[in-house]
């Protein structure tokens, strides 16, 4: 187990290192003068151009030798500084992100966990009921092939714009002051619902298909046939198949974290939901590159933490990792 985690942690630290380096390097690697390139995207008055250009040059430390710039970048990062946001001037980037992260987590955590659990359950049931299989499976294929932003647009259109059942935009009603009142909590909930459903549904489809197919493979595995030849009831065989199918599903969960985060970004944009994804759009629109770089690092750290949680769950679910590792076989 120690070796397993040591390996995982090594990968994660390396990933973090690579991510920070990319975050630092990409503006500097871009062909030409990165700041000129940056600023040319926007129609600026010559005077403001000059001001922005010199302030960016200073902020990026472009005058220094590269290795120095790189070390400074790390030093600032380790002090928890990601620079100052332009979009929310003069707030530091970390503060801006922190406010948005709450919303994103409130969306992502329940949507990911619930769609994973529900998809696995329904997929497992579909694997043994023909009728359910014939209905759930096509439906799941449609869902998993759906672009997040499109399902979001569709839900927003039908349930908000046309039917007025849910609000179409925002994280809560702007007529309310954030307090711990029932009215405010209700407002939070109604604004949260559609983006949540979007993320839930797309994820659900994939997990249901995955579990269904895995169980069918497992039911055809040697150990399943052996159990049958011992006269074990179907119940026991299915129980084993389900438990074993959970393992590749967990690996799949770790693999799709990036896609899920991407889905959350575009979904938040559609619903103007004030999380990280929405912040990305604001940062792009207000040429706020410190904010973009900060968001990048935040996403990476979030995904790394999520990966680590999945690793821990994996060890809890797969007993072999525990034993094998004590013996040093893995």
């Amino acid at each position: 187990m120690r070796r397993y985690f040591a390996r995982k942690l090594l990968t994660y630290f390396l990933t973090f290192f690579v991510a920070v380096t990319l975050d630092w390097g990409i503006p500097r690697l871009m062909p030409g003068d990165p700041i000129a390139g940056l600023l040319s995207k926007f129609q600026l008055q010559p005077s403001s151009y000059a001001v922005l250009h010199s302030s960016y040059t200073r902020a990026f430390n472009l005058g220094e030798p590269l290795w120095r710039q790189y070390l400074d970048f790390w030093r600032a990062l380790l002090h928890g500084s990601l620079g100052t946001s332009i979009y929310a001037y003069p707030d530091p980037v970390t503060t801006v992100i922190r406010h948005a992260v709450v919303f994103t987590l409130a969306l992502l955590l329940p949507a990911t966990v619930l769609s994973y659990l529900a998809g696995n359950k329904v997929g497992a049931i579909a694997a043994r009921r023909k009728l359910l299989d014939d209905t759930v499976l096509p439906f799941s294929y449609v869902l998993t092939a759906t672009p997040y932003q499109w399902l979001a647009l569709l839900l927003a259109f039908v349930l908000a714009s046309v039917a007025h059942v849910f609000p179409i935009s925002g994280g809560f009603s702007y007529s309310l002051v954030p307090t711990l009142s029932w009215a405010f909590l209700w407002s939070l909930l109604t604004h949260w619902f559609l983006p949540f459903v979007t993320l839930f549904l797309v994820g659900f489809g994939g997990w249901a298909i995955g579990m269904r197919n895995l169980i069918i493979y497992e039911l055809d595995a040697d150990y399943a046939h052996f159990l049958e030849s011992l006269g074990a009831p179907r119940r026991l065989v299915r129980k084993y198949a389900y438990k074993n199918a959970r393992l590749p599903q967990l690996t799949g969960l770790a693999l799709s974290l990036g896609t899920i985060v991407g889905g959350a970004v575009v979904t938040e944009i559609v619903f103007n939901y004030p999380g990280i994804g929405w912040l990305v759009l604001q940062a792009i629109n207000s040429e706020d590159f410190f904010l973009l770089q900060g968001i990048f690092l935040f996403i990476i750290v979030g995904v790394l933490l999520a990966n680590f949680v999945v690793d821990v769950v994996y060890v809890l679910v797969d007993p072999r990792t525990r034993i094998g590792l004590q013996e040093g076989t893995r």
Binding site: T15, P27, Q149, Y217, G258, V280, I295
Partner: protein
């Protein structure tokens, strides 16, 4: 067939030995009989056809302002017009073409990288494997979209080729991992060991022995990468990072959203591109499962 702890969902598509020794005409026989494969291929085929004949069936410039704005679908405007009075049908078929292009190029690049990395790591083993495996795992964790946010911000006006290259450069790690696992299991089989002993050069073993034995698996992997590339590029375009001026399925949704199609109830502007993406990607996924059943006799149900 028991799974070890490193298997991914995708490994389950692994072909069995029998699958590869089945004669070709038999595969065709099962292919024509497989409902999933037939349905999936039909959808993808029809949409592909629509993309190919786009120049003949649609207006040459999909961005042209051809009619009154915000017209619902009618006989003169099959899918209505946009907020600006552009023809949605023309935009759709042109967007389809863009999507197929990005899918094939991006999926293709990712496939080449994935097979190169997967084969090398799985075949060479040792330190080479360690390094490649670590690289794969690192890139696997970095979400592509997040990377795009910092890259896209600095690049003005990308092209469809750039988009395909970006997708290709970032979408390969899961496939490389799956191919590596497959290669490892093949390499441990006797015939590869024999080839190794007899001193055949390693790339020839890979090309001559390993690749043919997992050709169906590689094909399935490519199909999934193809679908992934289309989905990813739709997200990029929706964020506004797509090629400027060009029409893609993602940018249609982006513009529809940006110009309040939701509030103005111009549903015909954003519904068709989503349906088209769903059709291609869903069709590809279903094709994938169908092919898997054809290649893998164990899955063939009556």
């Amino acid at each position: 067939m028991s799974k070890d702890t490193t298997t991914t969902k995708d490994d389950t598509a692994a072909p069995t030995e029998e699958g590869n020794t089945a004669p070709r005409h038999e595969l065709v026989y099962f292919a024509l009989r497989n409902r999933k494969l037939v349905i999936g291929l039909s959808i993808v085929g029809l949409l592909g056809l629509a993309a190919i004949v786009a120049p003949f069936s649609a207006r040459s410039n999909p961005d042209a302002f051809v009619g009154p704005p915000m017209q619902p679908p009618s006989s003169s405007y099959l899918l209505g017009t946009t907020y600006f009075g552009q023809d949605v049908y023309s935009q759709l078929v042109n967007g389809l073409r863009q999507s197929f292009l990005v899918g094939i190029m991006g999926g293709g690049i990712a496939f080449v990288v994935a097979t190169a990395v997967g084969f090398t790591a799985g075949y060479r083993g040792g330190a080479v494997d360690e390094v490649l495996n670590m690289l794969t795992n690192v890139l696997l964790v970095i979400p592509t979209l997040a990377l795009l946010i910092i890259v896209g911000g600095y690049l003005k006006g990308t092209s469809i080729v750039f988009e395909a290259m970006f997708v290709g450069a970032t979408a390969w790690p899961w496939a490389a991992r799956a191919i590596r696992a497959q290669t490892l299991s093949l390499v441990s089989r006797d015939f590869v060991g024999l080839a190794r002993l007899s001193g055949v050069r390693s790339w020839r073993i890979v090309v001559g022995e390993v690749a043919p034995n997992m050709s169906s698996y590689l094909f399935l992997t490519f199909i999934l990468l193809f679908g992934n590339a289309i989905l990813i590029s739709a997200s990029y375009d929706f964020l506004g990072f797509g090629p400027p001026g060009g029409v893609s399925l993602g940018s249609m949704m982006n513009l529809a959203f940006a110009w309040n199609a939701l509030q103005l109830h111009i549903w015909w502007w954003f519904v068709p591109p989503g349906v088209a993406i769903m059709g291609i990607v869903g069709g590809l996924y279903v094709t994938n499962v169908g092919l898997d059943e054809v290649f893998n006799p164990k899955l063939r149900s009556l």
